[in-house]
């Protein structure tokens, strides 16, 4: 099988496997559509409601991408600041940890009060969820710079910020990439949770509504759309990251000996 063909076929096979698994779960649940509709029912619903799903998917997609952008930006900046000013870390890290432990519903009223019911509050929620994995992973990476490199920079009379940008940051990029992967995977749920806070559109909103109206097939159609989006996004980010860090050894791209 040629490389190119494999690249097209593989995701399709994965998809087929996923659908089979789903169908199996459906059977195991006694084909009770109100608990877990089968893939066929869901596909029919998805097809019938495609325009509706697309509309809402666009909203959620925008939230996800904005949240990802903001969360990653904030995460990168925070990690840089925390890494550079050691005292900052001591005071701020607990705050970041706490921020992860706060359930949506507790701050939903506050979020809405401060940011209104528009895109902002959802993006804020997604950002909050995405933020931590990025910050934590990147900060870990920034801490683990090879001491020899730091020593060399010291002897070279390097400016602290330049050491950060030219040595510690690139050295931490593999760790950041790892954080970004996790962030990408949780971004969709971030946006959906944001839509709980109060929304008038989006896949999360659609799911909530469908659930309340017992339109479980529609809910799963929305969920499937979200899952597709999540996987596509993850795949794109994973690919992009691997390409951006050519000097990092990666067992996936390493040529195995043929013999």
């Amino acid at each position: 099988m040629s490389q190119r063909l494999a690249r097209v076929v593989r995701p399709l096979v994965t998809l087929a496997g996923l659908l089979l698994l789903w169908q199996a779960a459906h059977w195991l649940n006694g084909e009770r559509d109100y608990l877990l509709p089968g893939p066929l029912t869901t596909a029919q619903t998805a097809w019938a409601k495609a325009p509706l799903l697309l509309d809402h998917a666009l909203i959620t997609g925008a939230e996800i991408l904005l949240g990802l952008l903001l969360g990653c930006l904030l995460g990168v900046v925070s990690a840089l600041a925390l890494a550079q000013v050691r005292t900052l870390e001591r005071w701020l890290l607990p705050l970041l940890v706490i921020s992860q432990a706060i359930p949506v519903f507790a701050i939903a009223p506050l979020l809405v009060l401060w940011l209104g019911y528009g895109l902002a509050s959802k993006v804020a929620m997604a950002t909050l969820i995405i933020y931590f994995p990025v910050t934590a992973a990147f900060l870990d990476g920034l801490r683990q710079t090879d001491p020899l490199w730091l020593d060399q920079a010291r002897v070279m009379q390097a400016r602290p910020w330049r050491v950060l940008l030219l040595v510690r940051l690139p050295a931490a990029l593999p760790a950041l990439a790892s954080g970004l992967r996790v962030a990408t995977a949780v971004a969709p749920i971030g946006a959906v949770v944001g839509e709980w806070v109060g929304a008038s559109g989006g896949l999360g909103y659609l799911m909530l509504h469908a659930n309340a109206r017992m339109q479980i097939d529609l809910m799963f159609a929305a969920l499937f759309t979200l899952a597709l989006f999540a996987v596509a996004l993850y795949w794109a980010v994973d690919r992009g990251l691997a390409r951006l860090l050519p000097w990092v050894p990666d067992s996936r791209t390493r040529a195995a000996p043929s013999a």
Binding site: G116, V197, G198, M214
Partner: protein
């Protein structure tokens, strides 16, 4: 094996008869061992009864119709609260004096499934169209959103609860009742059981014990409140005390009794509103078991 009753939501005064029947030992006297379980999502209990994971679920009459239309094998067997509790709430001192004033305003709601239908009908009775207001899903922050002035009105607030809450907060609210503005009356809280297990002899006993508890509550409001407060000490506060009193007159005195006209009318209403496609025969989803 205990009889599992899934509540619609966390324990609150709306569940008074169930709690009192449990605490006063009426269930036990009927030879029943009853377990009350509270979910976080009101939509789950019916599904779980349909999946035979529990015997009885507390749910809402509008939901019963939608469940039936979605093919859930559920049958309403008793009524807990016999009037609507849902209402449109505005600030008492706010600019909204009649429903007509809502034109062009923001209305917050918490996803329940049929708020738009309810509101559309209520507004229509005052000549306002649904697309002339802005509907916002405020999910977790129904009262805060109106108290903080983020919305001009909310729908989904319970008249026996959120009104008291706002009053205690010092920002009293005013309610418009759906059944006074064009919406057919319905039962807020009902009990459903699985269609295939209606012959379970424990079900009539359960309903009878609930009826006994309701009568006891009406006769002895103070004592029954004490019972509730003792069973759930963390609910022993001003708000729940007032909610208890306000809910008392709304409990169904004959829980088993089925008002077929009410169900048929409401089913037709939901179909007309486009919330369900079909209205199945009534006795497939609502029965009187005695």
């Amino acid at each position: 094996k205990p009889l599992t009753v899934l509540l619609d939501w966390f324990v609150n005064p709306d569940h008074g008869p169930l709690v009192v029947a449990q605490e006063a030992g009426y269930f036990a006297e009927a030879g029943l061992e009853v377990e009350l379980i509270a979910p976080a999502d009101p939509n789950d209990p019916p599904k779980l009864v349909a999946a035979e994971k529990a015997e009885v679920a507390v749910t809402y009459q509008p939901q019963v119709h939608m469940q039936a239309a979605a093919g859930l094998p559920l049958v309403r067997i008793a009524t807990l609260v016999a009037t609507p509790l849902n209402s449109v709430v505005v600030l008492d001192e706010g600019p909204i004096k009649t429903l007509a004033d809502l034109k062009g305003r923001k209305i917050g709601y918490s996803v329940g499934g049929f708020e738009d239908a309810l509101l559309g009908t209520m507004l229509a009775s005052h000549g306002v169209k649904l697309d002339e207001v802005e509907l916002i899903n405020v999910n977790f922050a129904l009262s805060p959103s109106i108290v903080a002035g983020k919305v001009d009105a909310t729908i989904g607030a319970f008249r026996n609860f959120e009104l008291n809450q706002m009053d205690i907060n010092g920002t009293p609210g005013r309610a418009f009742y759906p059944e006074e503005h064009g919406v057919p009356a319905y039962d807020e809280l009902v009990l459903v059981a699985h269609r295939d297990h209606l012959d379970d002899p424990r079900l009539p006993k359960l309903v009878a014990a609930i009826g006994r508890a309701t009568r006891h509550m009406v006769n002895h409001p103070e004592e029954s409140w004490e019972m509730f407060a003792q069973a759930y000490p963390d609910l022993n506060d001003e708000l729940n005390r007032r909610a208890w009193a306000d809910t008392l007159p709304r409990f169904a005195l004959r829980p088993a009794a089925l008002d077929t006209t009410r169900y048929e009318t409401f089913g037709a209403f939901l179909k007309e509103q486009g919330l369900i496609d079909t209205v199945p025969p009534l006795d497939t989803y609502a029965r009187q078991i005695d």
